[in-house]
């Protein structure tokens, strides 16, 4: 923006690099979201944007404002921390909701769901261990 001209070249170069890296990855993620076929594939694409995409932009921001204001600008770490904590959670919620729906509606292509009619112990135990596995992911 207006202050970009004040930035010395040694700082401007990495700033531009990280900014382009971040926004490029985010764009890639957005294109992926648009292009992929199924929901489960699509869930992966935006993660590009929220991990390195956001990370690159934040690093660029840190470099730029640290140099411009001649003092370390570290707010971005906080932003990164919250993005890292919250985005996976929302994506996980989305994915699990979709999975649950596919299972209850018996759509193909997803791991089987505990059938409601089967209530014997022998069948329930492997299912519940399966449950634990998904929990551990």
């Amino acid at each position: 923006m207006t202050h970009a001209a004040d930035l010395p070249a040694w700082a401007a170069l990495p700033t531009a690099f990280f900014l382009l890296l971040g926004s490029g990855l985010t764009l890639l993620g957005a294109i992926g979201l648009l292009r992929f076929g199924s929901f489960y594939e699509r869930v992966h694409a935006p993660t590009l944007g929220t991990t390195w995409g956001a990370g690159g932009i934040l690093i660029a921001s840190m470099i730029c404002f640290t140099v411009l204001q001649s003092r370390p600008a570290l707010h971005e770490i906080l932003i990164a921390a919250f993005v890292i904590v919250t985005t996976p959670v929302s994506l996980m919620l989305l994915a699990r909701a979709a999975l649950y729906r596919d299972r209850t509606e018996n759509n193909g292509g997803v791991p089987a769901f505990e059938a409601e009619s089967e209530g014997t112990d022998g069948e329930a135990s492997p299912k519940s261990s399966d449950q634990k596995q998904t929990k551990g992911q």
């Binding site: 996980m92 919620l93 409601e116 009619s117 209530g119 519940s128």
Partner: protein
Amino acid sequence: MAKDTSLILMIFLPFIGSAMAAFFPSNARNAEAWLAGAVTVCGLVLASMCYPAIVAEGPVRAQIEWLPTLGLNFTLRMDGFAWLFAMLVSGIGFLVVLYARYYMSPEDPIPRFYAFFLAFMGAMLGIVLSGNLILLVVFWELTSIFSFLLIGYWYHNANARDGARMALTVTGIGGLCLLAGVLLIGHIVGSYDLDVVLASGDLIRSSDLYLPALILFLLGALTKSAQFPFHFWLPNAMAAPTPVSAYLHSATMVKAGVFLMARFWPVLAGTYEWFWIVGFAGMASLLLGAYFAIFQRDIKGLLAYSTISHLGLITLLLSLGSPLGLIAAIFHMTNHATFKASLFMAAGIIDHETGTRDMQRLGGLFRFMPFTATLAMVASAAMAGVPLLNGFLSKEMFFAEAIETHADSILDRVAPYVAVLASAFAVTYSIRFIHGVFFGKLPDDLPREPHEPPFLMRFPIQLLVLTCLVVGIVPGLTIGPFLHTAVTSVLGLATPEYSLAIWHGVTLPLLMSFLALLGGALLYLLLKNYLAHCEEGPPYFRQLKGQRIFERVMVAVSWRGARFLENRLGTRRLQPQLRLLVAVALIAAAWPLYHMSFGLAAFSWNLDDAVFSGLWAIGIFCAVGAAYQAKFHRLVALIFLGGAGLVTCTTFVWFSAPDLAVTQLLVEIVTTVLILLGLRWLPKRSEEFQTDAIRMAARLRRYRDLAIAVAAGGGMTLVAYAVMTRAAPPTIADYFLEKAYTEGGGRNVVNVILVDFRGFDTFGEITVLGIVALTVFSLFRRFRPAPDSVESPEQQRVQNATDEARPDRTAGETVSDYLLIPAVIMQWLFPVIIVLAAYLFFRGHDLPGGGFAAGVAMAAAFILQYLAAGTRWVEDRLRVLPLNWIGFGLLLAALVGMGSWLFGYPFLTSHSQYVELPLIGSIPVASAILFDLGVFSLVLGATVLMLIAFAHQSVRRLRASRIAAAEEETA
């Protein structure tokens, strides 16, 4: 002490006492009585201290500015007449407090009683001492309200509730009429100041508006004093505790009507209209009240009708337009207050000791309570007008006035006969009361064994009866000078010669008195047997009950009329209401624009800033998309709405308004979540529009709605465009920018404006916010969802079915499994968001943030907790008390505002300075930050309250459907 201070104290002490009394523990009978006693004694002392000044220099005045620009001031004024009443109100108030200490049972919620009692006393003193007509009406309505609350004190009793409601309706409507009358008088005179109004009697009487003003004014006065035909509320008000009846419904409040008539007597009286209206009401009340009183079975009913009759006597005296009549009226007001209050207290003692007030069941109590009986006899004798008692004196003055011819008419000619007849009736009911209660056979089915009451309970009666005697025997030495001061303050130089002596020689009035005494006694002998067994109420009039007529009218007005209007004009459907609202707004906005030209600037494309234009293109797309999808895809519409909100938010950032951006973002988050929660309760798409014919009609309706919507939106756009393309007028923004730091002590101008410069606006706004939250909450409490959304949503049912089908799981386990990781993260974020809220709050004064944003952020933290773990889990672990938070916020904001009064500044003046804290250093502290804390607390409370309304709705519905399911199973 300065005279004006003591006047102001006289008004405010009872109210302060009332506020204190309300917070005492419910068993603090003695403490309450001491407090109330102290307040009444203070009132007495303050009033007596003013007396020398009133005699020497005339009225004492005090003034506090209220709305000086409107000519309204909190003016107090005490002349001799007001002084007499102030003494009556405080003095009898003290005696009633003493009496009530013994009368009220330990089970009664005492704080409520004394709080209302003292507040009533303050309002009554306010009526008496007001020096401004509007102020007088305000206090007048306050007495109606507190009378309502006191009559309904035992609200578990249906009679008390009905009586209270009736009293409030009648006196409240009267009060509104009085307000209208006072406004007319103020319009005629050009001032609401009592002194000015009292000095312009000729102007008022000669005005065209005199008759309407008089009628409205009298409607107020006559309803309050329970005069015919508005008398019916008073007997029904007897459901109140006896101290209340003694104080409000005999000694003070019902006297307010006659007080007002006497107060404005020099201004309004003396005309033919006055004579007829007041005279007729007074005479009818005098005669009918006395007649009805004879046939009451309830002691308090008898006393109530007798009160109506005596007030009728006073009204009749006031109607005559002669100064001597006014003197007699004022004298009788004080006399009636003394003997009637003591009689009510005696009735209360009888009720207290025997458990009944029915005169047909009582009898022979003289043996058990000779002392009380003697006191009651003396008081009744005063009521009947027996010589050597105060009632005799004023009654003789009344007879003397009745014989005189004032305005030759039928009313004037029958007056002496009516007077004698009514007095005879008064003798009859007085004898009935004494004979029926204290003599005759002792019944054996009394609920309790009677005995003398404690000395202090009897003491107030003793004192009042002693007054009756002393005034009756040596009137000139006791009441004489005070009465003279009172009378001269009303009549001024026109005060005629009058004599208070007992013996005037054998005159016509004396003969009339004896005739009435003899006639009354004879009548009682005749009626004695009938009265011992008769039904309640007088013969022939028994069927015609004022109460029933009143109830008919109430039903017609408040139920049938309302239903009629609702059926004709109302709709329960939201769409027509909204359509109407938007259409009216459209027309209201278009009307002036049609008449005066718009003056639009020429339109030009300005797309220099491509990014910003693109942003707005997205925003417009989202907004239109939201509207397009709103009908059938609500979730999609909500997402679009969020997009539009984010664009707005970015716009604020773009134009350097970070404060607005932060607030907008937080509000956006919270509203989206709340609407999401509410989506589940919206009804499903209606199937009935599927046939072709209806589809056509529906389509037409939609096009019409579309037209309305486009017109409204286009109009809004035009207005915005017109405003934005105009050169900005000189604004006050520069002023705020300049003064924010120097005067408000903050660098964040927006926040300083909100909490300091425009603090009063903010105060109003948060009040509205609190009201909105309460409304949402109460609407939800009565919410009946559409039939198809009563059951829990499909997903939830499927999940619970899976859980229930498996023995190793309990209901709700699947969802908590699925939510495990998000839930943990959400719970961990709770403290983080609290820190964020605190950060927003504290930096608010200098940087973007502030109480509002912090409150919304904090509410988001709560919402997350509810989402993560469910309503029950959260409420088991956190104390979520949004109502308290709302209350605390409002109170804190108000208190901070009032705090500046202590330093002599106007409401909500802020003070700021820097404070040195260890470790942190110098930080700015402004009193506005406390105000902001109030804002924070209220916003938090309001948002969480709405959230809770949603959350509890889900829990409750679940339970309801589960109960229904259980019933199905058992059936």
